[in-house]
Symmetry: C2
Subunit: 454 residues, 2 copies
């Protein structure tokens, strides 16, 4: 199977939708049987709620159905389970890894969740799900799997292999073997590979890596992801304050975390709320308003400053038309420089001890951009208002100064924030934009007054 993932998913999706709409259940069953569950889940995300429910009812194999469910988004999970009985949900949960089951329980409608939790009460999955639900969802505890392959510290390679063979069905993802003492405290770790390449009688303590990297259960998932990425791990153990092992976070969950956090960053940059939470309209508006308050504050301040130049404006109303373009260009160049500064500081490409080269580079790029767009806007101004050539010159000079200063301010502000111990990312948002906007207005009107003699 050579994978042109996009094409394949789109084709599966189109075909599925057609079949589901036609109520062609037999054909749906046949298509499903040849498709990996992850692909069915991806295709389902693009169907309507009704189509999702109809399709899901065609998944006869309960293991397959459980795997599809584990891959669905929160919203789709809620739709698909809406009309299920608690018994049906519990049966599916029992076929999943406990960390996936916990995510599903978290996604259920409130009423169904309560009934499912009551139903789950006695068996092993129920206990694991409840213990995982105790941790906030975005912590190591919230994303860990409690199923860890642990051996006592006096065991040998042969005993570990025997244990592995006995537990065949139980443990889905075994990457490492963890060694614990009598109190369940983590002593060391070894790999499947090491088991294979040492004689069966070798003690595990002889081949273990002692004192392995671990995380605490309340550590933020983003921090956990950073650790797994930095040390190229396949899994990291989660331990309590006594170093007793509680679970492991595996690399596939870390991949999901990194993808989710990237989305979250993008949403936060636009001032919208976290994507996975379903919120009321009022709450969404309230979250988005926070970011807009800065905009309206800056806007009112701009109005006040423009008001200072009312006499200039009254004597030449055409000037008003170019306020947006001067502010817009300055604002965008400022955000570009600030984005580069924030990323550079984060990756180390901009070094706090030696920001000189970066500022010098941004100053030159800003000057170059300013010159280019000054020429463009100046020519437009002269051509558009041929009777007032000085208006064109004034526009050119304003945009040159506005862009060049915006580039430098955008580059300096995040560095200054970092030096002051604040988060430099904050500087990319309202601060740079507002400062650059207001400076642009002041430059614009003063240049106009000077050149046009207003």
């Amino acid at each position: 199977m050579s994978a042109e993932l996009h094409v394949r998913t789109a084709r599966t999706e189109a075909l599925l939708r057609r079949l589901v709409r036609r109520d062609a259940d037999a054909a749906v069953r046949k298509l499903v049987s040849g498709t990996p569950p992850a692909d069915i889940a991806a295709a389902m995300e693009h169907l309507t709620a009704g189509e999702q429910q109809r399709l899901y009812r065609c998944l006869d194999d309960r293991d397959y159905a459980a795997e599809v469910l584990a891959h669905l988004s929160v919203v789709a999970t809620r739709e698909v389970t809406k009309n299920m009985s608690e018994d049906a949900v519990v049966e599916l949960l029992a076929r999943m890894d406990p960390d996936d089951a916990t995510d599903i329980v978290g996604a259920l409608h409130d009423e169904l969740r309560i009934r499912v939790l009551a139903e789950l009460s006695d068996d092993e999955t129920g206990e694991e799900v409840r213990s995982l639900l105790a941790w906030p969802p975005e912590t190591a505890g919230g994303i860990m799997s409690p199923q860890v392959f642990v051996m006592p510290d006096d065991a040998s390679c042969g005993q570990a292999i025997a244990a592995l063979q006995a537990k065949h069905e139980d443990l889905e993802n075994i990457y490492y073997i963890y060694l614990t003492d009598d109190h369940g405290r983590l002593l060391g770790v070894t790999s499947l590979r090491s088991l294979l390449t040492h004689p069966p009688k070798t003690k595990l303590t002889a081949i273990m890596v002692p004192d392995p990297i671990s995380v605490g259960p309340s550590q933020d998932q983003e921090e956990v992801a950073r650790i797994v990425a930095r040390y190229d791990l396949l899994a990291v153990p989660v331990v309590d304050s006594e170093r007793r092992i509680l679970g492991i976070v595996t690399v596939d969950d870390v991949v999901d975390v990194i993808r989710a956090e990237a989305v979250e960053d993008m949403m936060l940059m636009a001032g919208v709320s976290r994507p996975q939470q379903e919120q009321s309209v009022l709450r969404q508006a309230a979250f988005r308003a926070g970011w807009l308050f800065a905009t309206i504050g800056g806007g009112i301040l701009a109005a006040e400053i423009i008001g200072l130049y009312e006499a200039t404006l009254a004597s030449m109303a055409v000037l008003a038309g170019f306020i947006p373009v001067i502010m817009g260009m300055g604002g965008n160049v400022g955000i570009q420089s600030a984005t580069l500064a924030v990323r550079g500081l984060a990756t180390g490409q901009v070094q706090i001890g030696g920001v000189g080269p970066f500022l010098w580079q941004e100053a030159r790029v800003g000057a170059l951009l300013g010159l280019g767009f000054a020429l463009l806007l100046g020519l437009y101004g002269v051509a558009r208002f041929p009777g007032q050539p000085l208006l064109g010159v004034s526009l050119a000079a304003s945009i040159l100064l506005a862009i060049a200063s915006a580039g430098i301010i955008g580059a300096i502000l995040p560095v200054a924030f970092q030096r002051a111990g604040a988060d430099p990312a904050i500087a990319t948002g309202p601060f740079v934009t507002t400062l650059v906007d207001l400076l642009g207005i002041v430059i614009y009107f003063n240049v106009a007054r000077l050149l046009l003699g207003l």
Copy 2:
């Protein structure tokens, strides 16, 4: 070692810098010996070029030095290797995985790279590096490792274990065992785990998963990452058109790709260039100008439209001051809605077949935000210009209409783009902003003319 990664890295970094500045080489060596190479590399990113070179010279153990180098950014790699001889570089490369060595070669200064490639000519590493350099850096071929653990299709579990024991040192990361036919074509895959849990005489073909998921060498790395993420793989084989196995892409490289792509998306949203490439000032300006052209085009269009209302403006110059706030608020609300729409379409939370609920939600959020900020701006207007209460009312009505329409336009445009087969992400940028800005101006002046009788 309980990991508070940030704190630990910051402490290591501060200590390292102090020691390096004091030329306390003995103390540096002691600190280094107790620290994982990845941590030293992370700390080095925040030192100046001179400090990086001095520190790197303290890394006596060549294996350790190679591992630090493999973790450094492109910029730091270039600095650290600047004054090295080609022999020294080649010695380090020989101790790395070929895919890491290839990245280092790509990061070297041009002159040094040529000398290193000449020096590498004969040995195995050289051959592997050269074959990897043939693929573009952001493809499966560019990030794959050519070191794959392959067994012939007639081998047994016991033979595979024996081969694994013999190759002990050579293969860094073994996740899966790939089976090939006489022509090197990929037939199937099995896991270390399966080797352990089956009798040694079992044929590998009996326990293999046939026809495993694979990628082509020129497939984009982002696509490869998506496949590894979707199917929860630890590695994916790279095969040519004849299905001959060329290498594998491992999950740790995929994690790096996902992190890099997230950064790249963020940079592209601000219209700045890819972060890892060192470009001339002229090229950087040219790249950033592309995005700014849309802004200046929209700005000139706005100036033209404002020009249509010159008479209105001349009779009431104070109106000009509020142009930026009407445009700014509309633009931001539009971007918020568009961001939600783009993400929703990508994750499937917004379904192309049933966008009704999403649009209805955005319409209500927009109306709510419009009402809130209309009240705010209206009260400000009335308080600020008590002689002209209708100015305040006019501001309130304008911002209400501008915000409400922006919310709907921002939500609809990405959906329309998707339906037309275009990338909806493009709609979040210049399209939404320009459309919403211009509409805001038209609303503003017409409301003012109507209410104020201008």
